[in-house]
């Protein structure tokens, strides 16, 4: 049976509502209104009823960009609060699709006028992949007041219908467009040859996977890192330890949900997954696996080196609500940007990671560490 940590609220247990998700009830002092005048920084496409999906604008006079939240040192409650005030418009894509694409294309939020069928309803929705949203409302009419500010690279690549979505995402990224903007373009169906709106939660992981698979191929050609390095970083109770070992590309991730944490429940739960140059199937760690992999690939590409990578994510009860996989992406980026411990042996590196994580129960779950320990190299023999 699938465990809660693997499903993360997708409803795989068959219960009408996820018992963990329904723990969250927040109240906001905002009067539900049936109109909205203000800016729309982003769009949201639901996966419910796919392929007959619905979507709409995200409406808030504030940033929708997770790196901004971290730069401004927002606490978890401030982020939840901010998101609770956000309205997600909902409509058939034939009606609002064009406007949504304008919003997604724009580097800055666009001002909009939205009329809802009835006052917006409060239902704070959490989801393992996507950042939470508070209000939803069925859109009756939507007008764009401003026009999109479109970056040059975005303009060029979204106008090109002969470039596949994979190449388009990689080209945007190498032109310096950040993953959050690429995800917006992907979900609004602005990339690729046969364009379609993509449920936002799928687009997030699709972009993480596409970009890091592209980087992986580039990294494979670089020489290996010179020595073992151990990185660490933490955001909102998500502690990341990352060990880089000289060698060809291999990636292993181990996720530890402590006792009484979000998905952990009564007992600690540990999930492991790994890959070589190719990855088959969807990771049981879900979106977090791909988000962390992207952050590590970005680092390796920046130093033009290749490595065997072990990422350990330990989640404490401080992480009281799922904010989306951006937390793991940013936590890993933060880890990779911090000065590493280096020049240590593999055993010392594992020991160091155990100290950083504060537990050694994840070590037996690793299949890459025993492989690294037992595999001899050829220079050993002459």
């Amino acid at each position: 049976m699938m465990r809660c940590v693997e499903c993360k609220g997708k409803g795989m247990c068959g219960l009408p509502r996820c018992p963990i998700m329904s723990r969250f009830h927040a109240q906001v002092a905002m009067k539900p209104s049936s109109t909205y005048q203000g800016s729309s920084p982003s769009v949201f496409i639901g996966s419910y009823g796919y392929p007959d999906i619905r979507g709409g604008p995200l409406l808030i006079n504030d940033s929708d960009n997770p790196p901004d939240w971290i730069r401004n040192n927002l606490g978890m409650d401030e982020i939840v609060n901010l998101r609770a005030r956000t309205i997600r418009g909902n409509a058939g894509l034939h009606a609002v699709g064009g406007s949504l694409q304008e919003i997604a294309l724009s580097a800055k939020p666009i001002d909009v006028d939205v009329y809802f069928e009835r006052p917006v309803a409060f239902s704070l929705n959490f989801d393992g992949t996507v950042a939470p949203v508070g209000f939803t409302g069925a859109v009756k009419k939507m007008d764009l007041l401003g026009s999109a500010t479109v970056g040059r690279a975005v303009d060029r690549i979204t106008s090109d219908t002969d470039i596949g979505a994979t190449d388009a995402a990689i080209a945007l990224s190498s032109d310096g467009v950040d993953v959050y903007q690429i995800t917006k373009l992907m979900t609004a169906g602005l990339l690729g040859k046969r364009r379609k709106f993509v449920p936002t939660r799928w687009a997030i992981t699709a972009v993480d996977d596409t970009l890091s698979t592209g980087l992986k191929k580039e990294i494979a050609r670089f020489p290996p890192v010179e020595e073992i390095r151990v990185f660490s970083g933490e955001i909102y109770g998500n502690r990341i330890a990352c060990i880089l070992v000289p060698g060809d590309w291999k990636y292993e991730m181990i996720e530890i949900w402590g006792k009484q944490t979000l998905w952990g429940g009564e007992d600690e739960v540990i999930v492991q997954d790994r890959e070589g140059m190719t990855k088959s199937g969807y990771s049981p760690i879900s979106g977090a696996y791909y988000s962390a992999r992207l952050a590590v690939c970005e680092y390796l590409q920046s130093i033009r080196r290749c490595a065997r990578v072990i990422v350990i994510r330990s989640v404490s009860s401080e992480y009281w609500a799922p904010l989306g996989t951006w937390v793991i992406r940013e936590a890993t980026r933060k880890a990779m940007a911090s000065p590493p411990a280096h020049g240590v042996s593999l055993d010392a590196a594992v020991h160091h990671a155990v100290a950083l994580i504060g537990s050694d129960r994840w070590v037996p779950h690793s299949t890459l560490i025993p492989e690294l320990r037992t595999q001899r190299t050829l220079d050993h023999f002459w």
């Binding site: 050609r221 020489p223 492989e371 595999q375 050829l378």
Partner: protein
């Protein structure tokens, strides 16, 4: 200088043998043919490959080194059909090589050979056990083991005169014994080493096409596979470092 034409299938076979381990390599050319020797990024596996000039339909070359992007070559030769000829042409000290296949003329930029790792020394390891086996049999045994585990022990039982493969998974176990009459030949000597199937799977695919593969084994020592390609006009050697069984 290089000017040669070769049957597409033969050249593909050689490229596939290299690409099982490394994405790029340094190719040496001289009067007698082409050759390469390289280790993978992790320093765990080595390939030595040579293709004699007899493997080519026509061949003329001076002594030189070419940096070849193997992955790119592999994609290019995907175009070639059965019986197609590939022609390779390069002037002295040129940065580009002309490749013609199936009516398509490519000009391929070569890699700077300074950016490719130095050629490793040829191996000088004494491996006492020797088995000669059909390539297909070997590949099938490796494929079967890969279902159960990520590592496999290869060994010789000198008493029973058998060659055995054993893989131990978390919950499952597989063993295949080849008796002397299932093998082409066997030189008995106590031997057993453990290897990563990650590497062996890719090598096995290449070796499955060889009529005979020579395997050299020792105790906790690398394994050496040696086999012919291109109808005997080419030769490949793989060397793979062992894993040391945990105590």
């Amino acid at each position: 200088m290089l000017k040669a034409t070769i049957d597409a299938d033969i050249f593909k076979e050689a490229i596939d043998a290299i690409s099982a381990l490394i994405p790029e390599c340094r190719l040496h050319t001289d009067d007698d043919g082409i050759s390469t020797r390289a280790v993978d990024t992790a320093n765990v596996a080595m390939i030595g490959l040579s293709l004699k000039k007899e493997a080519f339909d026509s061949y003329k070359a001076s002594k030189s080194q070419l940096g070849i992007d193997i992955s790119k070559m592999k994609n290019i030769f995907g175009m070639a059909g059965k019986g197609d000829l590939i022609s390779l042409e390069m002037a002295d000290n040129a940065q580009k090589m002309s490749v013609s296949v199936h009516g398509y003329n490519y000009s391929i930029t070569l890699l700077d050979t300074n950016t490719i790792r130095k050629d490793p020394n040829p191996p000088t390891i004494n491996l006492p056990g020797k088995i000669v086996i059909k390539g297909e049999d070997l590949n099938n045994a490796l494929k079967a083991a890969a279902v159960i585990s990520d590592k496999i022990a290869l060994g010789i039982n000198p008493k029973d005169q058998t060659f055995y493969l054993v893989a131990e998974g978390d919950t499952d176990h597989i063993r295949r014994d080849f008796s002397k009459d299932e093998l082409v030949s066997l030189t008995p000597a106590e031997a057993r080493s453990l290897f990563s199937l990650d590497y062996l799977k890719d090598m096995g695919k290449v070796m499955s096409k060889a009529a005979e593969v020579e395997i050299f084994l020792g105790i906790d020592h690398p394994v050496r596979f040696s086999f012919d390609i291109a109808g005997g006009n080419g030769h490949v050697e793989y060397l793979l470092a062992p894993r040391i069984e945990a105590d």
